[in-house]
Point group: D2
Chain length 354, copies 4
Amino acid sequence: MIVVMKPEATTAEIAAVLRKAEELGVSTHPIYGETHTVIALVGDLTNITREVFDAMAGVQKTVRIEEPYKLAGRTTHPADTVIEVHGVTIGGPEVVVMAGPCSVESRQQIVETAIAVKEAGARILRGGAFKPRTSPYSFQGLGLRGLEYLAEAREVTGLPIITEVMTVDTVPLVAEYADILQIGARNMQNYGLLHAVGKLQKPVMLKRGISGSIKELLMCAEYIMSNGNYNVLLCERGIRTYETATRNTFDLNAVPVLQQLSHLPVVADPSHGTGKWELVGPMAKAAVAAGADALMIEVHPDPDAALSDGAQSLKPQRFADLMEELRRVAQAVDRTIASPTPLAEERPQAVVLG
Amino acid sequence: MIVVMKPEATTAEIAAVLRKAEELGVSTHPIYGETHTVIALVGDLTNITREVFDAMAGVQKTVRIEEPYKLAGRTTHPADTVIEVHGVTIGGPEVVVMAGPCSVESRQQIVETAIAVKEAGARILRGGAFKPRTSPYSFQGLGLRGLEYLAEAREVTGLPIITEVMTVDTVPLVAEYADILQIGARNMQNYGLLHAVGKLQKPVMLKRGISGSIKELLMCAEYIMSNGNYNVLLCERGIRTYETATRNTFDLNAVPVLQQLSHLPVVADPSHGTGKWELVGPMAKAAVAAGADALMIEVHPDPDAALSDGAQSLKPQRFADLMEELRRVAQAVDRTIASPTPLAEERPQAVVLG
Amino acid sequence: MIVVMKPEATTAEIAAVLRKAEELGVSTHPIYGETHTVIALVGDLTNITREVFDAMAGVQKTVRIEEPYKLAGRTTHPADTVIEVHGVTIGGPEVVVMAGPCSVESRQQIVETAIAVKEAGARILRGGAFKPRTSPYSFQGLGLRGLEYLAEAREVTGLPIITEVMTVDTVPLVAEYADILQIGARNMQNYGLLHAVGKLQKPVMLKRGISGSIKELLMCAEYIMSNGNYNVLLCERGIRTYETATRNTFDLNAVPVLQQLSHLPVVADPSHGTGKWELVGPMAKAAVAAGADALMIEVHPDPDAALSDGAQSLKPQRFADLMEELRRVAQAVDRTIASPTPLAEERPQAVVLG
Amino acid sequence: MIVVMKPEATTAEIAAVLRKAEELGVSTHPIYGETHTVIALVGDLTNITREVFDAMAGVQKTVRIEEPYKLAGRTTHPADTVIEVHGVTIGGPEVVVMAGPCSVESRQQIVETAIAVKEAGARILRGGAFKPRTSPYSFQGLGLRGLEYLAEAREVTGLPIITEVMTVDTVPLVAEYADILQIGARNMQNYGLLHAVGKLQKPVMLKRGISGSIKELLMCAEYIMSNGNYNVLLCERGIRTYETATRNTFDLNAVPVLQQLSHLPVVADPSHGTGKWELVGPMAKAAVAAGADALMIEVHPDPDAALSDGAQSLKPQRFADLMEELRRVAQAVDRTIASPTPLAEERPQAVVLG
């Protein structure tokens, strides 16, 4: 860490900073410049926050040199983390596609969609049972019933499922059904929830908050990991900027940046990222080209009738076409995407929906 | 609501929108322009979200005309809400000052600070017992012990206390001690928590999220109110922008905007808003001039040694001086701020700290 | 356009809006809702700004339905614009790569770089002779000498050149040398300059301002086009957001959005967009996958010694390798990128640098 | 400046940085930390940009310690700059109010407004003759005729005038009429224009760009000052953020921040800053309370009929009432605002408008 003193800082103020640093067990290297004195601190600074020094008299600012995350960062863990979910490998050469509706709306809707996305090559089924909604008057999800329908869809298709958990008290329930737990953007810094999923051993996909910085996203991964759960996926899903032509600004730059800073797999969600289905195709292809380890794409059999986020959902046929295009882009960057898998081939038994 | 069709929308697509609207029980008024057809919807649209139409084929965009909040908005509740907390009235002619340290660090620290701010004219004591921190390795608050110390400080000074609640499971505990519960910026959209405090009858101060829009803040207040708790205070505490000269961009404009849109009292927090103690004075005065109903100001007896947010804390003497300046500004806008209250005068018994 | 009246708007205020609209020659369609009256305006609204109504008593807000740009928009000009520059076609199936140094620094530097990028498959040479710099104490470009060196590099390689013009008075000089004139991000809304280049017939590449919205970018293109110059290229080069992990937030979403709204070719500049050379490769590939019509990439023979923006420049060998990767991605999305062109093959004469 | 090396930086890369710094004439202080080597540079770094080092191999980032502005900064010029304009002193104890319409629309409009604002206590008349407009189809100002009308209004009222200059070629013309030249937000980084007004000796008011950082604003002031013109006023007028409840986010924090960093007077423009007349009153009072040296307020005799920005303009009577309120706030912070000045008292001759 570097502590920059104000030009008018007194000798006593400089001495106080030196003393404080030594109390904290780090060594100090003061440099006396023409206008400012600068104090470099050397040692283990992980547990020392900048604010300790920011608040001291005579200090102009502090600059952190070391990464504040040690478990999530690449410095101490150079090799890529690879996460296995029931035979699906995330973080390896395959670009894993997670697909499904925003919300689980009915047994038929989720099973039909699951079959369609499976046949198009998706490897993981997404669907929300508990939905965070801006308005208290909007559809809030089917809850437990939604989880049960998801489990049925998994039964029929063999696809592992990812679904969001919103509150600490529902973590055990959601963990019972989900193969991957999703922490949504609004809860990125819900530390109680991060602690709770950190106690599990199931994979957790952590979405970047709508104004979360890349560093904050990594610090939130650190919260989960410091509780013992190292199976964390990072997900870019659009940030809030001044631009209103898209619902969010899908920050694709975060994909290579996160891969440089961290060993965790990176997921790109162009559906929430852009909020418009016309943009999902171009930005999904861009995400694969930029090196994303997985994609999350919303697919709904009838977007016009969707209870949430229909505007950003693809119809199954369009999704299948997009998967073809994505395979070509993946190949061009030496990655793969699973081939279409007609369900009949591997599961000859009739699918009966009661 | 207005539904704007694309220039290339077909007659069938327009008919589908008209049909959907009628199914939802609202009347429709199509207008056929030179390039676009526009459909105005009239009726009770509170429970109809824009996305219902955004997802339909041929729709370019939708525009909401009505406020999506009915309990928090001024349209259906024109008179100002006034909240009483043990004899302190928020939302009336007095500008109520809440002051105290960011975190409760020890019995002595909080009691001493409470006495100092009380004597300077503060009416409510703030202090965090549960602290949301960016790093899992930072001080996370004293928890229950912090609540007990706050209660002691209240005992000594008579000041009601406001403190943050971070998780659903600690709502009963915090509600047992606090006179006002604070929902922090990171939890503005933690809907489980909003539900939980909505079941209480104690006042709740809801902080604007770091990238929360003014409309979202009102929708989050609506979450609390729709659960039955109408005692909500709205708090501006700085938003995230590109500017780095201040820690956040304290958006003082939100004060008059919120007062136009809502009947709820508005609190300004220049300490978190700017993140720098040198700016707290000018921006606190500005907040009073702009019409804030209350201020929240961080005061710490020894900011250099504070365990959190020392850089934005005032020392007690500087706070007392600022209160003098604030009284003059309040008077210039026909408001009042409580006079200094030497504690001895009203509480002759010795204050003994064990 | 839609004019939304306030709930408390009086009959006289509504009548005034109706009268004003009729004075302006547009027809009016008032709809009387439960809380608000809404007035739809139908007719030619291109020259009527929203502010005419925004300022009227009783008006809550206005919503523009029509595009405010008529020359740049796709509605009235559905077919893609294709721009020819000395045998290079921008806006067709080929993804055109423009490459070269940020600044022209010497004859040798620009000629060497031109040869290197030509051999790697670039079709247009970039290089700044007049440089907008944040500090008045920074290198401001070689000016006329820089233009002369660019012309020499064109002579040697046959590559057309693109270079920035910063002021109205240098438009004739720059136009004499450049094949494409660039309007930089800081000058996107320098209307005097837009007028001046609008009088030329040479192509103009207009960069999105650092906080320019997509709609504003199109309105600035409209400024150029309304002066008679229809050869406009739109360039995404990164916007300003709260994120500091990248120098700018390269908003790749703008590529498909601009292509939907406009017929003009879209250029992506991942070098300025991200500000870091490590990110240029992934984001250049992403830009091709997302459908960009051209790329602008900074290449410098010795980035460490560059007088500007070295941190975002690629070395020639790395650029040549990237071009190989880009060709594969282009092919995967049914586009092409020019093959490597050893200069000797087409220009057998010795290159003599005096 | 501090140069932070990457953890994996080689000895040769570190040596190259040391060598480069020494070539540039600054002394070097390397500190070898646990993960990073950090090199502190000491000496005159004004003309050395961070990018010199940012581009070097092995460098992770650079941090500037010194201010990059020397003429605009307070470090080398601690005393406040006071600017005199025909008997009006800006930067002293008086808070100077500049008022008038956004655009000059007719002789009668500007003279009437000038009389009204003068009588209410304004000290300087504002009015645009050359108007930067987002659409090429909007009213672009009266040009020379507008300047002549402004001069007439000055003749009648004695108020000095401030008006915008947009292009280098009109600088002499505007300078002939204006007492203060205004550089608008869109031109903050139009360096050709900054050079041109830097050659004048007339005061220049420089508006912060819509996404200009405080540091960039000071660097743009440095451009003007480094050309010899030290009479620069800095103006906060709202920045672009994600919030849409206000047209811009008026960043009042910039007032005290600029006053800390710079000796130049600071003007606040709540009319453009918020874009809504209802917010001008509260935010103007807030600006005075926060310490602004001057205010710029839009006043129009008939905002409904204004050709630009009517929505943010006050009617003369409302302006006069606001001035009364501002006087009280000014007094509360030990500043003054000029008293109302019935024109008849000092100018007995009839005002004849031809």
